[in-house]
């Protein structure tokens, strides 16, 4: 094998040849078996370099995972979670103690009302209720702004709890499809795009344009149910959510319980909602566990 041939092979593997030289190499690979044999050996060597790099990349990504996990605190230890719960319980007890000490047999109705207002203000200032601060900035899908959670004194109705807590499933885990593509987007993509953009009527139209098999997909049905809730079509949403919550095939099976509970609250089926929320909070995969617990606390208040 000539030195020039080795150099050709080396440059070919480094993508450093002219078009004519590439054509020459590829022609010889077909016609010259000896050349082919040497080429394959060198190619394997270049492949080895590529594979060794994968180990380095994996290590690099593991380091990034440590940084990212630290930022998001995703791997909080059971002890950390326990501390949070203990803190929440202690705070609740302090709040209860405050009520009890403030109350006396000689207090008038007017004073009780003032106390209620103070409790409301304290609740607003509570740094733990971040979701209340967050929700104040975001208009709800059905046009109502999120209301503050009612005081313990005034037990919220099912409709009020629904209004305070419902937001359609955000869908930030859906595929990133943007409008305006030169390629026509299909019904499935239109469904996702409209859903993410909160155009729920259009998303339902797109859903109906999908194939029959796609319309039976429990993951898509979960999103459809959320769109229906946003459009106040509660009965239809409940029928779907009942199905998805029992479906082992759906990645949203657990979350369907939560939204079904909210829908039952809206219909003032408090007992049913309570059963669903109890079931939901038991599941470690539940995303809205904290919120569900808050709702249960509201429901269970006498």
């Amino acid at each position: 094998m000539e030195e020039r041939d080795i150099q050709l092979i080396e440059k070919y593997l480094a993508h450093d040849l002219t078009t004519a030289e590439v054509a020459e190499v590829e022609r010889r690979l077909i016609s010259d078996m000896e050349f082919r044999k040497i080429f394959d050996e060198y190619k394997l060597a270049a492949e080895a370099l590529r594979l060794a790099h994968r180990d380095e990349l994996k290590s690099r990504f593991r380091e990034r995972d440590k940084i990212l996990d630290k930022k998001t605190n995703v791997n909080s230890t059971p002890n950390t979670r326990l501390l949070w719960w203990l803190g929440a319980i202690v705070f609740s007890l302090l709040l209860l103690w405050f009520f009890i000490t403030k109350q006396g047999p000689s207090e008038t109705v007017i004073n009780q009302t003032e106390d209620t207002l103070q409790v409301n203000e304290q609740k607003v200032d509570n740094p733990d209720t971040l979701r209340i601060e967050k929700n104040n900035d975001q208009p709800r899908a059905d046009g109502n702004n999120r209301k503050q959670t009612k005081s313990i004194r005034d037990k919220a109705s099912g409709k009020e709890l629904y209004a305070a807590n419902f937001e359609p499933y955000p869908g930030d885990d859906l595929e990133n499809i943007t409008r305006g593509s030169k390629d026509p987007i299909n019904a499935y993509e239109r469904f996702q795009l409209n859903y993410v953009e909160k155009e729920y009527e259009s998303s339902l139209e797109a859903f109906n344009d999908m194939s029959a098999s796609m319309q039976e997909n429990d993951n898509l049905l979960f999103l459809k149910a959320n769109a229906l809730l946003a459009l106040k079509r509660y009965s239809e949403a409940i029928t779907i959510l009942e199905r998805v919550s029992k479906s082992n095939k759906s990645g949203y099976q657990v979350e369907a319980l939560y939204y079904l509970a909210l829908a039952e609250l809206q219909r003032e089926n408090i007992d049913r909602a309570k059963v669903l929320l109890d079931q939901y909070v038991q599941d470690t995969r539940a995303i809205e566990q904290n919120r569900a617990r808050e709702i249960l606390k509201e429901i269970n208040t006498d």
């Binding site: 690099r60 990133n176 499935y188």
Partner: protein, 211 residues
């Protein structure tokens, strides 16, 4: 990563403008990555990892988060190799969409091997994606072969390994290598490269024949 929406009178035209900006942005990132800017890879990794984990966690029945992380690592590696080897130079969709599709196929393969339930075949059927994705369907080297090849590379002396990496992995030409590694002439680089590649070839051939 996403371009900002402009306030144009026509929603359709503003979306088209956004799409063009997105494509330009994605392709310029590809160019930077291909030129060796690893911070682009880090940025893409950080920007999309958690979304991917959430998205994949909904679609696949997974008890172990590490399975999803492995899939994400493999996704980023496959994406990077395509860009590095100049097989992927242009995208007609957002990088995130592209990465998620690679990840989806990766997870399908992983779960098909393990026999776990797949949730998304129906999603796949209606996807209408850029054909360049098909270049990703390459066969994986057997694990044993990978170990042999990696060991051979690790046996090389440091400077030899570095010069080979610059040439065959980073795509640098002879003058660039000469400047970066302090060689006195291009001829010296060429000779070192030839000897190094030959040595690696011998190590690999030796190991492959004994295993």
């Amino acid at each position: 990563m996403r371009a900002e929406v402009l306030s144009e009178p026509s929603i359709q035209s503003s979306r088209l403008y956004v799409m063009e900006e997105v494509k330009t942005s994605a392709n310029s990132l590809l160019q930077s990555l291909a030129a060796g800017d690893m911070s682009v890879l880090d940025h893409l990794y950080d920007a999309h990892r958690d979304d991917f984990l959430r998205w994949a966690g909904h679609r696949f029945v997974v008890k172990n988060r590490d399975d999803l992380l492995d899939a994400w690592h493999d996704t980023m590696i496959m994406f990077y190799e395509q860009v590095r080897d100049k097989k992927l130079t242009n995208l007609t969709c957002e990088i995130k969409t592209f990465l998620f599709l690679i990840g989806q196929r990766r997870l399908l393969k992983m779960f098909a091997r393990s026999g776990k339930l797949e949730l998304i075949d129906e999603f796949d059927a209606n996807m209408n994606m850029d054909e360049s994705i098909n270049v990703l369907e390459e066969e994986e080297a057997k694990e044993e072969q990978m170990r042999v090849l990696t060991d051979a590379v690790n046996q090389l002396p440091g400077k030899t390994r570095d010069i080979l990496i610059k040439r065959f992995r980073e795509g640098k030409n002879i003058p660039q290598i000469m400047n970066e590694m302090g060689y006195e002439s291009e001829n010296a680089v060429s000779v070192t490269l030839s000897r190094g590649l030959k040595r690696l070839k011998e190590l690999v051939t030796q190991r492959m024949s004994t295993d």
